[in-house]
C-alpha cells in the first residue's frame, strides 16, 4: 500500500510539472513521464498486458504526436515566453495549493463505501476476454483505426496543400 501511494505521489508531481512548466516541449515530456508512472502502477496492480500497451502507445506514440505537433506549429519565441512568464505564474501557482487541499480533504474524509462487490471472474486471460467476450470492442477498435486513417489523411493533407 505504501509503495502504491509513493508511486501515485510521484505521478501526481509529474502531472503538476506537466501543467506548470514553462516550455511546452517539457510539458509533453512530463506527460510521457506521467505515462511511465502509470505503467508502473499498472504492473503493481497486476495488469501487465494493459501496462505494456500503455507504455508502448501512450508513452511512445502520443509523445510523438505531441512533439510533431509542437514542431509543426513553431510556438512563441523566447522573448515572448519570458514576457508571458510572470503572467503565467500568477495564473498557475494556485494549482498546487488546490491539489493539496483537495487531497487532504478527501484523504481525511471518512467515506464508507458500503459496496457489494461481484464474485471474482472465472476467465483470467485477457486475450480470451477480448476475443471471446468482447468481440464488439475489437470491431470498434478496427473502425476507430479506420477513422483515424481518414482523420490524418484529411486533416494533415490540408496542411500540406497550404
Amino acid at each position: 500500500m505504501i509503495v502504491e501511494i509513493i508511486i501515485l505521489s510521484v505521478l501526481m508531481l509529474a502531472a503538476l510539472w506537466t501543467v506548470m512548466t514553462r516550455s511546452i516541449l517539457r510539458s509533453a515530456i512530463g506527460l510521457a513521464f506521467v505515462s511511465v508512472m502509470l505503467t508502473y502502477i499498472m504492473f503493481r496492480l497486476s495488469s501487465p498486458i494493459a501496462a505494456v500497451f500503455e507504455l508502448s502507445v501512450c508513452t511512445g506514440l502520443i509523445s510523438v504526436v505531441f512533439i510533431s505537433t509542437i514542431t509543426l506549429t513553431f510556438p512563441l519565441s523566447k522573448e515572448e515566453v519570458l514576457q508571458h512568464m510572470k503572467e503565467r505564474l500568477s495564473r498557475f501557482w494556485y494549482l498546487p495549493l488546490i491539489l493539496i487541499l483537495v487531497g487532504l480533504a478527501f484523504s481525511l474524509a471518512q467515506v464508507k463505501l458500503n459496496l457489494t462487490l461481484p464474485p471474482p471472474e472465472v476467465e483470467q486471460d485477457v486475450r480470451n476476454v477480448l476475443w471471446k467476450l468482447r468481440p464488439f470492442d475489437l470491431a470498434g477498435q478496427v473502425i476507430m483505426l479506420l477513422t483515424g486513417v481518414y482523420g490524418v489523411l484529411i486533416l494533415f493533407r490540408q496542411v500540406r496543400k497550404k
Binding site: 501515485l8 505531441f66 488546490i98 491539489l99 463505501l113 476476454v129 483505426l145
Partner: protein, 105 residues
C-alpha cells in the same frame, strides 16, 4: 494483502487530483497544445480508475481489456485533435486560445 477497497479509495483521491490538474490546465492556459495535454491528463486519470476498479473487484482480465480498447481510442482522438489544432494554427498563425471567439451569440 491490503483491503482492495481501501486502496481503491486512496487511488480515487489521486484520480480526483489528477482530474483537477487536467481541468485546471484546460481552463488557465492560453495555448491550444496545452489544452490537449490537459485532456490527456484527464484520460490518464480515467485509465487509472479503470485499472484500480478491476483490481479492487478482482476482474483484472476484463479491466485490462477495457484499458487496451481505451488506449486505442485515446490515441486516435488525440491525433485528430492535434490535426485540428494544426489547422487552427495555419489559419490564425498562433496557438492562442483567445482567438477562438469568432462564433458567439
Amino acid at each position: 494483502m491490503t483491503d482492495p477497497l481501501a486502496l481503491f479509495w486512496i487511488t480515487c483521491v489521486f484520480v480526483i487530483m489528477l482530474m483537477i490538474a487536467g481541468l485546471y490546465c484546460i481552463f488557465v492556459t492560453y495555448n491550444l497544445i496545452r489544452v490537449l495535454i490537459g485532456l490527456e491528463l484527464l484520460i490518464k486519470a480515467v485509465t487509472l480508475l479503470l485499472v484500480v476498479a478491476g483490481y479492487a473487484n478482482n476482474h483484472l482480465a476484463r479491466s485490462q481489456a477495457f484499458v487496451i480498447t481505451l488506449i486505442v481510442m485515446e490515441v486516435i482522438f488525440i491525433a485528430v485533435a492535434a490535426g485540428i489544432v494544426i489547422g487552427l494554427y495555419y489559419h490564425n498563425q498562433s496557438l492562442d486560445v483567445r482567438k477562438l471567439r469568432n462564433l458567439k451569440g
